[in-house]
């Protein structure tokens, strides 16, 4: 009997990474989660950093950081109106490294909102929401799951915002719940249910707390696992569709040497030719392990490092304890809602309920509005779409600036001083104007290019620009009393209210 090299404990633990026979290799695929998670081979184009920027991986890593830091913070936080604020103070000043945990939680929450936005932009701009040609592919469904995750992320962020029970928290939630109250007919009942009464208090805090720590994270975890599993079912990242199309055009050649996988292991030999771009064209693909695994680990590491560095630099703010009697001036929502707050400043019904509702519905419907099959998975600037995207972006810029000018220079109530009807001001205001202009853009481009992809693309780029401009306006250009100030203008000093 030949002498076998002695296996160390490490070898035994890591055997699936270096299988020594075909049988072991097959077994490894089934028993190692990471090998089972990814396909055997991946296209080089799919794993290129500058194709996907690994934004989905970043989002999920941030969610993991949030879960861990959040779980630790739960040991110190008390969800009661008397204790909440002071337990945050304790976390910041008494608990060892409490400040770091709270900062990491806050920084990764903000980063996650940014990453989710960028991930959505990336998927749209590469046209990756279109159904592929492999069996069972349904990317449009995965896009909808993505929109659900986007909404869940914003809801998690918003519910977490109330928990410190400081002025910032209290007034952001006052504004948020009153926006819900502006829903026609059932608005007040919705607000009553959200707040758990007429006034924001203990009922509200415990409601938001339970949503924040149990309900929403459980939903987000379940949907994100589904979201990642769908990527495999959809035939990989959308760029593989280009390769798949090329493979389909190839003549079925002689049966080539290939591998089949089963629960029993790998069997080599000549079998049915699999028309999969990764196996047919081996020089364009690499084994997932280690190539993809290492990249994912690097991204995870980089995300953790960036979060840690930012947490060391930026303090997590804590204002004065919540005081219902004094509204801070200006009172602002979290940054990602400031675009909405700008619109809410024109009409609570349009800006706070109808527009967000319409935008989220429209985002979910994008794959069904645009069913064209061209350029799936290709960055927009490599296709004729570029000029329409630029057109849409410029149009969005002009439309938003026009709406803001109208809002700042000619407030509706001074244009029509004699009209008292609220319905009139809900219908005629800069927010509605902006909405109508962007909807018009879709039909203009559709008329000019007779392509739903180009029309959707122009509209989406206009949406991105509107979102950025409105958020910037709410963040930097609005001062006390929500008056307009240029960044270089000083805010007037207001006397402290009595």
């Amino acid at each position: 009997m030949a002498l076998l090299p002695k296996k160390t404990l490490l070898d035994k633990l890591l055997w699936s990474w270096k299988p020594e026979s075909d049988r072991e290799a097959g077994h490894a695929i089934v028993s190692n989660f990471l090998l089972h998670w990814f396909p055997n081979r991946v296209l080089l184009k799919s794993i290129a950093y500058n194709y996907s920027f690994y934004l989905g991986t970043i989002c999920f890593t941030l969610f993991m950081i949030l879960s861990v830091t959040g779980a630790i913070l739960m040991f110190f936080y008390t969800p009661s109106v008397e204790r909440a604020y002071w337990s945050i103070k304790d976390i910041d000043f008494v608990v060892s490294f409490g400040w770091f945990l709270r900062r990491s939680h806050r920084v990764s929450a903000h980063l996650m909102v940014i990453a989710v936005f960028l991930h959505m932009f990336r998927v749209f701009l590469t046209g990756a929401y279109k159904r592929g040609t492999s069996a069972g592919s349904s990317r449009e469904f995965n896009w909808i799951l993505g929109v659900v995750l986007f909404v869940l992320t914003l809801m998690l962020s918003f519910t977490g915002y109330l928990l410190p029970w400081d002025q910032l928290a209290y007034w952001a939630i006052t504004v948020g719940t009153n926006i819900a109250a502006s829903v026609p007919l059932i608005g007040n009942q919705i607000r009553y249910l959200m707040v758990g009464g007429n006034e924001i208090g203990q009922n509200t805090l415990i409601r938001f707390y339970v949503l924040h720590i149990v309900v929403l994270p459980a939903m987000l975890l379940a949907v994100s696992i589904w979201h990642m599993w769908r990527i495999r079912k959809d035939g990989g990242l959308a760029i593989s569709e280009q390769e798949r199309a090329r493979v389909k055009e190839m003549k079925p050649s002689q049966p080539t040497k290939t591998k089949t996988y089963s629960l029993m292991g790998v069997s080599s030999g000549t079998t049915v030719q699999v028309f999969d771009p990764t196996t047919v064209n081996e020089e364009k693909s690499v084994p997932s392990s280690p190539n993809l695994v290492i990249r994912i680990l690097l991204i995870v590491l980089a995300t953790c490092a960036v979060t840690a560095i930012l947490s060391a630099i930026f303090q997590a703010p804590l204002e004065e304890a919540a005081n219902p009697r004094v509204t801070p001036n200006p009172a602002k929502a979290p940054w990602y809602f400031l675009g909405l707050q700008e619109l809410v400043g024109y009409s609570a019904l349009i800006g706070g309920v109808i527009l967000p509702g319409v935008v989220v519905t429209w985002l979910g419907l994008i794959p069904f509005i645009d069913r064209e099959k061209k350029d799936i998975g290709v960055w927009f600037f490599r296709t004729p779409e570029l000029k329409w995207a630029i057109f849409g972006g410029l149009y969005g810029l002009i439309a938003t600036v026009a709406a803001l000018l109208l809002g700042v220079l000619a407030p509706m109530r001074s244009l029509f001083p004699t009209i008292e009807s609220q319905i009139f001001f809900d219908l005629v205001n800069p927010a509605t104007l902006l909405f109508v202009l962007v909807v018009a853009l879709y039909f203009i481009v559709w008329k000019l290019s007779s392509s739903s992809r180009y029309a959707t693309s122009a509209t989406f780029c206009a949406f991105i620009i509107c979102f950025i401009l409105l958020t910037y306006t709410g963040m930097a250009l609005r001062g006390p009393n929500w008056d307009f100030f240029w960044p270089w203008q000083a805010w007037p000093q207001h006397p402290i209210p009595f």
Binding site: V175, L193, G197, E199, R325, T327, A331, G345, P480
Partner: protein, 172 residues
């Protein structure tokens, strides 16, 4: 099973299927109802809507703010009235910004000497000191609440559950 049996069984099966679906549906709906209904509070531990705010003579002429309930008490000689200090847009607390001199202002075809205006810090809504919204997104005028003298001790009493129109004045 004979053909005849099959014919008899078909409607029976679909009937049973419908019954099962119905029971499951009713079960799911009632569970949902129970969960949602339990979240609607039956008792609120909130401050009372009707409360005393002290003797009339303790109020100076002009505007006073009761910060607990966020209402403004306006005194003009021997008349009193109470205006809500909560913006009708999204519920932020209003600030009263007095004019340096009284201004003649016309609201609802009636002109009066205005002492100042209410300003909302959240979205910049503005209200006349008698409650009419005239700038910004506020959709409605401010609420006016009933004010009375408590018979037992002569204190001013505000009843936030009772809204009154904008001509209400309590004469002491």
């Amino acid at each position: 099973m004979s053909k005849k049996d099959e014919q008899v069984n078909k409607p029976r099966r679909s009937f049973l299927g419908m019954m099962t679906g119905g029971v499951l549906g009713v079960g799911a709906l009632s569970t949902l109802w129970i969960s949602v209904r339990s979240l609607v509070p039956n008792i609120l531990y909130e401050p009372p809507r009707k409360f005393k705010i002290g003797l009339p003579e303790t109020y100076q002429d002009g505007v006073s703010f009761i910060d607990e309930q966020r209402i403004y008490i306006m005194r003009d000689g021997n008349t009193f009235h109470a205006i809500s200090g909560i913006c009708t847009h999204l519920g932020c607390t209003l600030k009263f910004s007095p004019f340096s001199d009284e201004k003649e202002i016309t609201v609802r075809n009636m002109s009066y000497a205005s002492k100042g205006e209410f300003i909302c810090p959240c979205h910049g809504s503005k209200f006349r000191d008698e409650g009419t919204n005239f700038a910004g997104p506020a959709p409605r005028p401010l609420l006016w609440f009933a004010v009375e003298i408590a018979p037992e001790d002569g204190q001013l009493t505000v009843d936030m559950a009772q809204e009154v129109d904008r001509d209400f004045r309590l004469v002491v």
